[in-house]
Symmetry: C2
Subunit: 305 residues, 2 copies
């Protein structure tokens, strides 16, 4: 039975080449840089364009990462999928690989589905994977999935699978919802990760577990320092500093913006490539983002070039 | 270069067994019954729970259908997927199998994507499949996908790929949108299929191509008779008769309701099984649907038991 995770996780950006194929070497290098800067790896999240990857691509990238020597204990792998057999295959593979957690979207094609249907989906995955090493983090992101993971679904899952349901990522941006998750289920060891680091101090203060945030891809060391020091002397300053970087990305399409910024810092233009339906950032917006970042003193120290 | 299709298509229900595995034999039998009653086969649509099937399951069911002697010319295969490589693999397979049309959802995870991103997605699939035998029907179902296929995307795709973009299914239920599709692009041979047969007479009158409707699974002969005879002496009566059946299903969760009705008529309880997040119809609703159907004189003549 895995321990509930805590910390700062990056929903890892997935690099593509000009032919839209995943670039394994740049993926590994980006992951290692994140780990070196204190972040865990939430590979295959929304910011990873995971929905735009096939199951095979996700399996191959995971294998390559482990073969490159990344410790599986840093992984919280995204294994959600619309199709039950896909979610089972991805989750089984993550557990076998040694990931102490998987971050699972609900199936997101059908809308207006019942809580009972969402519960049944997670229950089927858990039963089929059938491993005491499985630790599930429920991925609540209603603005994308349009299928919420309600408090009552969490309660029912926790009652039925107390050793497997370990926590949730709350990407709703709704602080009242994150607060309710923490207050209702935190005391039983349920780990709640509000998505944005802008809520990090606030949520840690009431028992949150950390942050799984897009911009950990950009600012892992800063957000990790905030996680470690939010209640120390420098706490307010660390929060304000992380917020400044966050706000620059939040004002634009975040995934292409982050990739464009990596392209600059890694000196590798292909980092800008996204798979459709996403589009690369236009040059004017990119220039404005890079300018704002420079003014904010943003760097990616030690990024592999 | 394939000819634009016309007619009445069923988004074919996918039967599962108690272990949630596709039942190939019942799938084939259902398909053959539909064809015998004048319907084409839009396998792997929304009502097929296609999003709940893996790519491999879709490929295997297609192969089994053809091996069972179903003529590929009746196929309009659903090949949309969030991930580009999945859509390419499914589309390539359908073209190789001899399907004269594929019905393609846009990628549906990311919301608020641009028309440019939707265009780029279809363009990539078309370029990668690279076959002059490919005929694409765009699948507009904003209430599920949340990603509309706008008139301007259609126009741009038609201009760039006039031999490949053959039509659209409009599941919006918005008659003004179907009308605009038909009026704008119908004269160039673009085949528009409003989803519900309740719009069949109305749309055929202004140049529509037919219907791809859930309830063709229930009432193929009746809807086909309407398609053939809408402007004849019995036209109004055929429309009213089809509408009566439609309304019974439209009042309840359609996919589980249709499956439950097949279970009754095929005398095979497993037909009721759906994959989560969908749930089987509760017994009270089922009894009420079956009662309404009986009063409407509904039968499934010749359904294989």
């Amino acid at each position: 039975m895995p321990t509930a995770l805590r910390g700062v996780y990056a929903p890892v950006l997935t690099p593509f080449d000009q032919n839209l194929q995943p670039d394994t070497q740049r993926f590994i290098a980006h992951c290692k840089w994140l780990v070196d800067n204190g972040a865990g790896l939430a590979i295959f999240g929304t910011n990873s364009e995971a929905a735009s990857l096939s199951v095979d691509e996700r399996l191959r990238l995971t294998d390559a990462l482990l073969q490159a020597g990344v410790d599986p204990s840093v992984l919280m792998s995204g294994t959600g999928a619309c199709a039950l057999p896909d979610a089972v295959a991805l989750t089984q593979h993550a557990v076998k690989a040694g990931a102490p957690g998987v971050l699972m979207l609900p199936p997101f094609y059908y809308k207006g589905v019942s809580d009972d249907g969402v519960f049944a989906y997670y229950a089927e995955v858990i039963e089929r994977v059938g491993s005491s090493d499985l630790g599930i983090y429920l991925y609540h992101i209603p603005q994308m999935s349009q299928v919420p993971i309600t408090l009552s679904v969490i309660e029912r899952l926790l009652r039925r699978y107390p050793d497997t349901i370990k926590g949730a990522k709350d990407s709703s941006g709704d602080w009242e919802n994150s607060k309710a998750m923490i207050e209702n289920f935190g005391p039983d060891g349920f780990a709640v990760f509000p998505a944005s680091e802008s809520l990090l101090s606030k949520s840690l203060a009431i028992g949150g577990a950390g942050s799984i945030s897009a911009t950990v891809n950009m600012n892992p060391a800063g957000i990790r320092a905030l996680f470690d020091g939010w209640n120390g002397e420098q706490g307010a300053e660390l929060q304000a500093s992380a917020d400044r970087i966050r706000q620059i990305f939040q004002a634009v399409p975040m995934i292409p913006a982050m990739k464009r910024v990596v392209a600059e810092h890694a000196n590798h233009a292909d980092w800008s490539v996204v798979r459709p339906p996403l589009r690369a950032l236009d040059d004017a917006t990119a220039a404005s983002v890079l300018d704002s970042l420079e003014k904010a003193g943003f760097t990616m120290p030690g990024y592999p070039v």
